[in-house]
């Protein structure tokens, strides 16, 4: 590797850190600059809706890499700085106040931001969101005591906040415009399971309604709903999805759709620019179409691909990762329930359930035609490695056999491996 080359990494989250560590492990010993708008070293975001809000005070988000990594591996840090422009032609990144960083390769890992909600009659600062550690610090003291908390959106972030807030003694209402929870990402069975769990714990739901306006009191806000009723809130948190921070890339002429379009190696339409994580739109082999996945696993995986590809491009090869692409993976923790989603559930045409007798634990397998394409695990994380292998092996046997609890998953995996080999 040559020492006279340089890579600039824009964004200081999970994907940025993992790409840097991947490049260093691959032997890249040129210069690296990490630019981030937040003043923190890259940290893990999954705890933001969990321990950061409901754990002990003084919570510190775990850093993706050891603090000493950046010094030990000569990574120049430009934290608390905003990228004004990217110039792929000149290999340059402009920060404010005239600072211009030139490099041979650029990774854009700027992530996503919360989609905002505007409600006539309600000041924007009354509608909170949760994307970073500062948001969590602001929210934590509010989710306490007798506050009435209204969550706009029954998605993962909203539901994790609901679970924590209700245990803190708050009155919690979730307003969801769609007829069921997390409609985009989980099956109706899991939606109902979660809804029942939350309702049993005292969370109130309003489905199929939207907020049309609000009336502000001194500290409380009355939210008028589309069905003519209203809800009063002391705290309002919107969790209605995220938007990719792809504007600097688009302004630089890099091809963007809903996010920055990248090829299988996470390279953008500019030959010297890569993108990974929440901001990247990539054809995922498990979906067979361009997807923008917002998950810990996707950020990790794409960052490794990008890191290897950038390092390879600098020594003149065009390496791809080589190993088989693992199924996408996502998890959520609510109360004592751990939900894990593997593969592709949104394209499901039929399902096979493999649940415990009381219905509290188990999994749901999803098929498209005869193909096993995904699985949802309800408090059954121990089986995740076997389910992942099943997804990778495929299931050539009758679908309903997966629901036979008389056979262990290990036995089912052996049966499928044998059938595939035959």
């Amino acid at each position: 590797m040559r020492r006279d080359v340089r890579v600039t990494v824009i964004g200081a989250g999970q994907a940025a850190a993992r790409c840097i560590s991947t490049m260093r492990h691959a032997g890249f010993d040129g210069g690296i600059t990490l630019i981030g708008e937040e003043t923190h070293l890259p940290y893990e975001r999954p705890p933001l809706s969990k321990e950061a809000l409901f754990g002990e005070t003084g919570f510190k988000a775990p850093h993706v890499l050891d603090d000493s990594f950046y010094g030990d591996h000569e990574v120049d840090l430009e934290l608390g700085k905003r990228v004004e422009a990217i110039d792929p032609g000149a290999g340059a990144v402009d920060l404010g106040n005239g600072l211009r960083i030139k490099s041979d390769r650029i990774l854009i890992a700027t992530g996503s931001r919360a989609r905002t909600v505007s409600i006539p009659g309600v000041a924007p600062e009354r509608i909170l969101s949760l994307r970073n550690i500062e948001d969590a610090k602001r929210l934590k003291p509010l989710l306490d005591g007798r506050n009435r908390v209204v969550l706009i959106g029954g998605g993962f972030i909203g539901l994790e906040i609901a679970a924590g807030a209700i245990r803190r003694g708050c009155a919690v209402t979730v307003i969801e415009a769609r007829p069921r929870l997390i409609e985009r990402a989980v099956s109706p069975h899991v939606s109902m399971h979660l809804q029942r769990l939350h309702a049993d714990n005292g969370v109130k739901f309003r489905f199929g309604v939207t907020i049309v306006s609000g009336r502000q009191g001194a500290t409380e806000t009355e939210l008028m709903l589309s069905d003519g009723t209203s809800v009063v809130a002391d705290v309002i948190v919107a969790g209605v999805g995220a938007l990719p921070n792809s504007e600097p890339a688009a302004a630089a002429g890099i091809r963007c759709t809903n996010g920055i379009s990248v090829d299988k190696n996470c390279r953008t339409s500019s030959g010297i620019v890569w993108a990974a994580g929440d901001v990247a739109m990539r054809v995922h082999p498990w979906f067979g179409r361009e997807m923008r996945l917002e998950s810990w696993e996707s950020a990790e995986h794409q960052a490794r691909i990008a890191g290897l590809s950038i390092a390879a491009s600098l020594v003149g090869t065009d390496a791809t990762e080589g190993e088989e692409e693992p199924p996408p993976w996502f998890w959520s923790d609510q109360y004592g329930l751990n939900l894990q989603i593997l593969g592709c559930v949104c394209d499901s045409e039929s399902t096979v359930r493999r649940m415990s007798n009381d219905g509290e634990k188990g999994m749901i397998f999803h098929f498209r035609g005869r193909d096993l394409i995904g699985a949802e695990l309800i408090s059954a994380g121990r089986e995740r490695p076997l389910v992942k292998k099943l997804l990778q092996t495929g299931w050539p046997l009758p679908a309903e056999k997966l629901g036979d609890t008389g056979m262990s998953l290990k036995e089912l995996l052996a049966a499928s491996t044998a059938a595939v080999a035959a």
């Binding site: 893990e44 999954p46 705890p47 969990k50 321990e51 775990p62 850093h63 050891d66 810990w296 993976w329 998890w331 923790d333 751990n338 994380g381 121990r382 089986e383 995740r384 490695p385 076997l386």
Partner: protein, 101 residues
Amino acid sequence: MSWQEVAKKSDVEEGEALQVCVSGEPIAIYNVGGTLFATHDICTHAHAHLSDGYIEGDCVECPLHGGVFRISTGEAVSGPVQKPLRIFPIKVEGESILIDG
């Protein structure tokens, strides 16, 4: 620290793990190919029991978020884990498993 009997050899089958408690600390005992190892039972990433984890070779995968640890050394191998697991000296005397904890 002192050696304490925590289980019988027959309690942990090959490829399996067992939770025991020593001086108030939850500890996972693993049988890896006939050799016994002991680590702290709680994942260093979130509150999950590694004795409920998935064992493959000499690694255990946390059931909550997929963090993987090497059972023999406690080293964090992959997944969202950074901190290694504490490991405990373990030995077998006759049919008894003893841990120094």
